[in-house]
């Protein structure tokens, strides 16, 4: 924990000498104001430190002290409903202490030391029994939605439980149990610190096979993500990345959501802060905020803390995953994180890779997304937990050859491509159906078959091929006009239009439309595909195209989105209507032929 002296200040990077005892990625306190920094390079006794706060006013000669600890955050009850900056300082506490602006050198704990939690011990525990890391000690009701499981943290060693936990109200610092490992007796508290750059240990990884249901039709039906999967949403500005991320934060069926606003707009975070406490989770009838942790490092906050914010977010998510929950991390936007890396790399005078990004960009991105997964957690119970990661990317000019997009696509399994043309037409979510993909269809097919419908895969493939065909036909129409298409092709265009306008287009601001359950999604698509098949066979039977284009049933399809979730029988009515109407025309045309 040697004390050194600053010799150089260049933006968020400072260099200090006399740091003989410093270690890589150790946290250092810089100057009398104790600004927080992290050692990112060592040359002899010189340490290069990235500082998480504004460095103006610092100069050579000021003191730097190592803390001996890696950049860590506090994990324990009280995380939910919080809003943190990039290095886990609660923004509401900063506001109480410093007013509207974020000033420097504020040292505030991530978890409230005064707050008391009602703790219920695990009744099966006996003193003298052996206990392992990850074993359950008891529970705290953190919010109405989430039971916080207190486990033996991976910072301790397993051993003999010499003092078992008792029921009572405790602060996070109170010792609730003692575990003897060898000669050493360790105190167990409700919280512990964990270094953010180190993934938390697990027993083993499993293959994801259950979908993360988001209620967004284009996602769940065409390009689903599995619980424990990873996805990316790249798109130019204005294409609706943030709206997609917000919709996922609101509606996806994860137990816990960690939303990382990394280098984004201040007002957007305010929007989330104001809206989430008012939004009610449809499954539990509780405010969505009770399952949410927000990390907000807006674009004007110090750049180094932005780099840390995604790690802070994913570490909190891993912690809840270890309790056996389904957790989703939404990172908006990973481009800002990459840019923060680029800025630090430039200040370190490293040789740049593509577009000035450091050469280690792809490996950092891969490390981050690989922290997702479906896992067996540590502990005797063998709990399963999942961690899904969804990262937005903001490529310059929407250009997908951007190094951040490319490095991300290498590791994620789902790609939702936002297209600005769709956004101009106000088709939201503006996820392009011809360029996006999901590699989870096979993993999820069994679940879909059993839980939604045996015809799931078939219907989806039929819809996709209609959209594909539409893409080709549109090219043709541009050249030769609509009239030269065959009747069958005209039917394809018509069906594709239903899929686009009545299925894929979804309003985030409409009460019924904002969220669609899987069953309804399937019934909607099934209805469109049924109509398509019926029209195709009617064409074979020489029913005039005009009649088919003017089917009354099409109106019903246009209003499908407004069918409430408990009125699924309405789909039967629409489907019967289609059959009846077309059967009528077929009969007519037979008579004509006769």
């Amino acid at each position: 924990m040697g004390a050194g002296r600053i010799i150089k200040v260049s933006g968020p990077l400072i260099v200090a000498e006399g740091m003989d005892e410093a270690r890589m990625f150790e946290v250092a306190k810089v100057s009398e104001r104790e600004l927080i920094g992290e050692i990112i390079e060592l040359h002899g006794d010189q340490a290069y430190i990235q500082v998480y706060e504004d460095t103006s006013g610092l100069g050579p000669g000021e003191k730097v002290t190592g803390t001996g600890q890696a950049l860590s955050i506090e994990l324990g009850p009280g995380l939910l409903e919080s809003i943190y900056d990039g290095i886990q300082r609660p923004l509401n506490k900063i506001y109480e202490k410093a007013g509207s602006y974020i000033t420097r050198g504020l040292n505030i704990n991530g978890l409230d030391r005064d707050r008391k939690f009602e703790f219920t011990p695990d009744p099966s525990l006996k003193e003298g029994q052996e206990i392992k890391v990850g074993d359950l000690l008891g529970e705290v009701k953190e919010t109405e939605l989430i039971i916080h499981r207190i486990m033996v943290p991976p910072t301790l060693k397993g051993g003999i439980l010499v003092e078992k936990p008792k029921a009572g109200t405790y602060t996070v610092e109170d010792v609730i149990a003692r575990v003897k490992a060898g000669d050493e007796t360790q105190d167990v508290r409700m919280y512990h610190r964990w270094p953010v750059r180190t993934p938390r240990p697990i027993a083993r990884k499993l293959v994801p096979e259950v979908p993360l249901v988001t209620g967004q039709r284009v996602i769940d039906t065409l390009f689903p993500i599995a619980k424990g999967g990873s996805a990316t949403v790249p798109g130019p500005f204005g294409a609706g990345k943030t709206v997609v991320q917000h919709q996922l934060a609101k509606w996806s069926d994860a137990n816990v959501i960690v939303y990382v606003g990394c280098g984004e707009r201040g007002n957007e975070m305010t929007d989330v802060l104001q809206e989430f406490p008012e939004l009610i989770d449809p499954a539990t009838n509780r405010p969505l905020m009770e399952r949410t942790v927000l990390i907000a490092n807006t674009s004007n906050m110090p750049v180094a803390a932005r780099e840390a914010s995604v790690y802070t977010g994913i570490t909190i998510a891993e912690y809840y995953r270890d309790m056996g929950y389904d957790v989703a991390v939404l990172a908006d936007s990973t481009s800002r994180w990459a840019e923060a890396m680029r800025e630090m790399s430039g200040r370190l005078e490293e040789m740049p890779g593509e577009e000035g990004y450091p050469a280690y960009l792809p490996s950092r991105i891969a490390d981050f997304y690989e922290r997702s997964g479906r896992v067996v957690c540590l502990g005797s119970e063998g709990r399963n937990g999942t961690l899904s990661v969804i990262g937005a990317v903001s490529p310059p000019g929407g250009d997908l050859s951007d190094p951040v997009v490319q490095a991300t696509l290498k590791v994620v399994k789902v790609f939702w491509a936002l297209e600005d043309q769709l956004a101009f037409e106000r088709h939201f979510p503006a996820i392009g159906w011809l360029t996006s993909y999901s590699l989870y269809h096979d993993n999820l097919s069994e679940y879909m078959r059993n839980e939604v419908s045996p015809k799931w895969a078939e219907t989806r493939v039929a819809a996709m091929s209609i959209l594909q065909k539409e893409g080709e036909l549109k090219e043709l129409v541009r050249l030769v006009g609509l009239d030269s298409l065959s009747d069958t092709d005209r039917i394809v265009l018509e069906t594709a239009k239903h899929i686009r306008e009545d299925f894929l287009h979804q309003s985030a601001f409409d009460d019924v439309d904002a969220y669609t359950r899987m069953e309804k999604q399937f019934r909607m698509l099934e209805t469109v595909v049924k109509l398509h098949r019926a029209c195709e066979s009617a064409i074979q039977k020489k029913v005039p195209l005009k009649k088919l284009l003017e089917l009354k049933a099409r109106e019903g399809i246009a209003r499908m989105r407004n069918i409430e979730e408990d009125k699924m029988e309405k789909f039967d009515e629409i489907q019967e209507g289609i059959e009846k109407e077309i059967a009528g025309y077929s009969a007519d045309s037979r008579q004509v032929e006769a």
């Binding site: 000033t103 680029r342 109106e555």
Partner: protein, 488 residues
Amino acid sequence: MVTEYTTIGEIAGPLVLLTDVDHATYEELVEIELPSGEQRRGKVLEVNRDRVLVQIFEGTRGVDISSTKVRFLGKSLELAVSPDILGRIFNGLGSPIDDGPKIIPEMMLDINGNPINPYARIYPQEFIQTGISSIDGLNTLVRGQKLPIFSGFGLPHSELAAQIARQATVPGSESPFAIVFAAMGITFEEANYFIRDFQETGAMERVVLFINLANDPTIERIATPRAALTAAEYLAFERGMHVLVILTDLTNYCEALREVSVARKEIPGRRGYPGYLYTDLSTIYERAGLLKGDKEGEVREGSITQIPVLSMPDDDKTHPIPDLTGYITEGQIILDRSLHRKGIYPPVNVLPSLSRLRDKGIGKGRTREDHSNLANQLFSSYAKSKEVEELAVVLGEAALTDTDRSFMALGEEFEDKFVRQAIDENRTIEETLSIGWDLLSKIPRAEIKRISEEYIDKYLPGNKDIDAGGETAGKKPESGSETAEEQS
């Protein structure tokens, strides 16, 4: 206490490097005295032991190695503020240049400001009526928003910005906006246009101007928007005023930044702009909004609404400056050269324009219940008309269906009646919306899909079941024939 140094070792571009400096700190303000006695100001960019890199705001012309004196002032660049700054003109560093008296400071504020805690913000949702239909109707501005104008060389962005400054009001609120105007590297004529406009409309007494013209020192521009926003923050959050900030032209600002970056031999990002351009721009744009009071639950009086103007080099929206701006600001108003050529003022291309804060700022109780529906319908109908137009170019107008033609008609009228307005025409939101509804009567009612039936019945002019597209009368509006032909 203040030591004078005459130890300049190198001079390159706007930068000087000093050696043997005892104690300098990062971002510290520096005073330079030239052999001629002229005083200039600079800022510390980097300190490395006793070597200090300083950026001179007024440029290095005339600075020499042997006798120029440098003093470190132990603080960063500050702006003197008091209520008397209203009606005054300052240079790009915040010193008065209008022959008026010295400002007796009520407080001295660091022009870099501090980042606003997102927790302390209030989400902007008060509608601002600019009197311009393409903004009010479709890309609505709200109080506390940052909404840039993306323009090109030779397009009337100054006229539009001045018109917004003149006409902006919050319906139902009496107090007009105070205006903070920052000119960065624009010509005398452009700056004069604004000044004259403020004088003629009697607005001058609620305007603060920061002027850095094209022939003023380039590096001074880096401080100009920050000085202006510091003044704005003072007026808004200390004096409780609603402030409209116009920054023009951000492209010149970014070029100044690039000049410094190149002089420092930094690794460039796209097109030679520094890798930290995003971060740097955000420290300007994010200084807008509404704040909570000092205690939970209170609202602080005052607000900052920003209208930055930037010219897109070669009208290219993917150029780093508009691109990074678009990622920070809450939307953008895009001016279009082809509309300008058609003689349409203001030449706002509504399709790629966007106001991200629109949806919470409009609707019942703010503008009118049908506003959101109507705006969406106009967007999609106008997009459709553009598609048809393209089709007509390839296939000839004869190949168009009647519905297609109705959309073409809507598109033309949209540009002519909705977008086009006089430079002094101040439309109320009701007028804007009713022009919008008039346009929708051009297309068959069945094509109006984004508006609820209730509003169509209530607001669509003329007969309820009118089939204005020229289709055969009496046909069921829901019938699929037109919709089928929409494919293209």
